[in-house]
Symmetry: C2
Subunit: 253 residues, 2 copies
Amino acid sequence: MTETTEKIYTHRYLLTAAQCNAQSELAPAMLVQHIIEVATEHADDLGVGFKQLEADGNLWVLSRIALEMKRYPRLLEDYSLSTWVESYNRHFSQRNFEIRGDRDEVIGYARTIWVAINMKTRRPASLEHFDFLAGLVCDKECPIAPPGKIRAIEPPQMCHPYRFQVSDIDVNRHVNSSRYVELIINQMDLDTYDTFYVSRFEIEFRHEAHFANDVEVCSAFSNDGKALVSTINRGTDQICLARTITLPRSPSN
Amino acid sequence: MTETTEKIYTHRYLLTAAQCNAQSELAPAMLVQHIIEVATEHADDLGVGFKQLEADGNLWVLSRIALEMKRYPRLLEDYSLSTWVESYNRHFSQRNFEIRGDRDEVIGYARTIWVAINMKTRRPASLEHFDFLAGLVCDKECPIAPPGKIRAIEPPQMCHPYRFQVSDIDVNRHVNSSRYVELIINQMDLDTYDTFYVSRFEIEFRHEAHFANDVEVCSAFSNDGKALVSTINRGTDQICLARTITLPRSPSN
């Protein structure tokens, strides 16, 4: 179910058992998939979707995500993602999200940055055709810090090799963004995720990866032990960088 | 959106870009996830869901699937899964599915076998409390062959090692059934799936696998070259066996 109230677009979901993770919740990677889905739907609605950009030989690329959750949607919970455009300029657009659980309780927020690039050159494209976006900018509050600069920690404390498979590739013929999130979450074991939950997650996408690419997923805890910093590397290319902050679970999350 | 017309339960879906595979279609593994989701919903509706079985200390376990597709749902296509109970006895239930695309075109069928087991002993449980199921059996046609006996081909022609990760574990704390389908599909490369599509897929689930289990995914083509037979092995245990039949793609699929 979807609805648009002027500048804010909402998509409602129900978390079925088949979609749950081992903690009977929506997994962070699935939340990222929903963020991309809802952003795409709203952009289509506003007339700045993939089809409109394609007409100019351009496409949207997701550059960064930062999300913060008090808790994740639970088994059989009705939840929703609402999205709005916070700002845009000639080259990129900032789009925010509010995640609500049952009884409309706000359970989290996300910030994303989308860049328009030329399909052939893969260089930044101009959004100046879409001046009407200025009228669609919304000043709804998104009370979480924007994505910050992430620096890899050397040397990493753990590294896992992985080769991208058929099931990792999306409709754009590159690796699915939410799959990177899974690979990073998979750096920790099941006991860890039974005891802690991901309270803040940031990811910066730097390069596209493709079928059969060999990568290493490398992680290390920050000096203060508060964040796990991860990189997915293909040789010397950093495909993406992420910072994961976990907190102990309590009965309310 | 869901609806129930007497004995047949229907769940309607829209295939968004975020849910597509590299061929801009619903992936076979995602179809299997939907099959499980829709079966669960219908069983809940009928009063023979996980909650009712749990009251007796039992649960449903998916034992076999056979599916045949003329084509898979495509990007932005409205499609639906309808399900009904073909038969049941004291120990298991046969549940079928019809998959329809846009304009209600029938694009495929599936057959599944579900077994009730005792949660503690993991031995077959009795469904005799659920006699009313006899009145819910439906004689709607499912014109595909039932799942047959699958025999591993020795020696396999390809083997890939895999260790199950956090993202592979489902709400029941074992490996997600649809993840096995992905691992089997991943035995082939992207070019193969650009040229061929999975016209028939059968899988038999024999053992549960858990977090951090090390397995080998092994496959070999049958003597006539028509089917790829795959097993996922944990030591000498066969976790599951599958038979995949692919056909060259044509403009209609």
